[in-house]
Symmetry: C2
């Protein structure tokens, strides 16, 4: 076991580039002048073992990806990881995330698994108390699971969700095998980018005051900081910052 009380573990592979993106954002958000200043991180990217989470939530497969993820977290813990992040919003749907938590509990896991959705809400409430209506851009799986919607309500925030047609086109911008971000990300296709921008305009019309980029792939296509005055919240960067806060808070860059 690696002797480090603050080793950060990342469940990658969901998708692979999101695992990289979270790791990169941890490095970017760390105050460091040399290689040695950077935080200890282990990224485990074994996508073949993890069933598609949206397909599970939509009932297209019976296999709950939680089982494989709990097993991978267990490996990371055995190696010494103490704090874990999963850079996939859809994985945080209760049917999956709750199962991961139960399975870890059964294994007597001591690992601290952060909840990306809760971190996003916490971030908005702490940094943008002026925002009441929060738009959500996500996959169909996350949408159907209502994970953001419920968490926002529970925290006194008003969720602003896309209408069905727009939700379908946002999902398509991520998953379409020809032009979706999962298939074409270097660079993202203009068509996918356009569909996402239409999603933003749509949510703005519905009076969202800020928008959560609630699928890790969306942040590959949109610069997160601002879109014509509207705040965009990158869930991956927020999770990266939370992982630093839980391990080496003194090294967290000022926001």
């Amino acid at each position: 076991m690696i002797q480090n009380s603050k080793l950060i573990g990342i469940i990658g592979g969901v998708g692979p580039y999101a695992g990289l993106d979270l790791t990169e954002k941890i490095f970017d958000e760390t105050i460091a002048q040399s290689d040695q200043d950077h935080l200890p991180v282990i990224l485990l990217s074994i996508p073949e073992k993890i069933a598609d989470r949206t397909e599970f939530l939509l009932g297209k497969t019976e296999e709950n990806p939680a089982v494989a993820v709990a097993e991978l977290i267990h490996y990371l813990e055995q190696l010494g990881a103490r704090v874990i992040g999963i850079p996939c919003n859809t994985m945080h749907a209760t049917k999956i995330f709750g199962t991961i938590q139960s399975l870890l509990h059964q294994k007597n896991s001591k690992v601290h698994l952060l909840n990306m959705i809760k971190e996003v809400i916490r971030f908005i409430k702490s940094n943008h108390p002026e925002i009441g209506r929060v738009g959500i851009m996500s996959t169909k799986g996350t949408y159907k699971s209502e994970v953001y919607k419920n968490a926002l309500y529970e925290n006194g925030l008003e969720p602003v969700l896309p209408d069905v047609a727009l939700q379908n086109s946002i999902h398509d911008a991520i998953y379409n095998p020809e032009y979706g971000i999962k298939a074409v990300s270097r660079p993202v296709s203009n068509y996918a980018r356009e569909m996402l921008n239409k999603g933003i305009q749509h949510l703005e019309k519905k009076r969202a005051q800020g928008i959560v980029l609630g699928c890790t792939e969306i942040a590959f296509a949109l610069t997160e900081k601002e879109s014509e005055g509207l705040k965009l919240f990158d869930a991956t960067r927020i999770l990266a910052r939370a992982l630093i806060r839980e391990t080496y808070p003194e090294k967290l860059r000022k926001f």
Copy 2:
């Protein structure tokens, strides 16, 4: 132990962004239409444990980073990794890499540790038989260790090395705490980029027919494919392709 006979292990942290860069290049060089198509990879980035390799080679520290790296490779092997890459050219100096190999041998390791320098030479010889004179851009540590120089000679290629002043400025472009790539990489400073471009022009004047970007950080500043007709070889991408070749050759993108 993770049940996968072809798990790729990466020793990150030397430096942290080079570990990410290698992982990203493995994904980029893989034929994949979905998350699940991507290769199993584990990236271990624990920079605080690994002494600076250039300082060791220059005699500024007694601590051989090989000891920590061999230990980390051992952890990766215990977790199931079978093939290992270290995305740091300087780590491949004989005084370090040879020690890693001996330590692994002592531990009865069965892991297949690729040698980035040998992979670069192999790549040049297979893909560019027309090239005889090969320029080397690297840190002072790699330069002083003569690892590329010797490997090129052994393979019937002529090394073209920068003069001392130019070598110093290339090293500075990487290590300077104010404008060097290790300190400022997002984006790389114009000054560092300019110094690297001067290095290329210098090696071209010395009749190099191709240039090895023999420090992982250099590839962050220069696009690798070509610089005014001169071939630039990105050691990190070559290592990424070698890792795929050794595990899932059928998924290696055509070059």
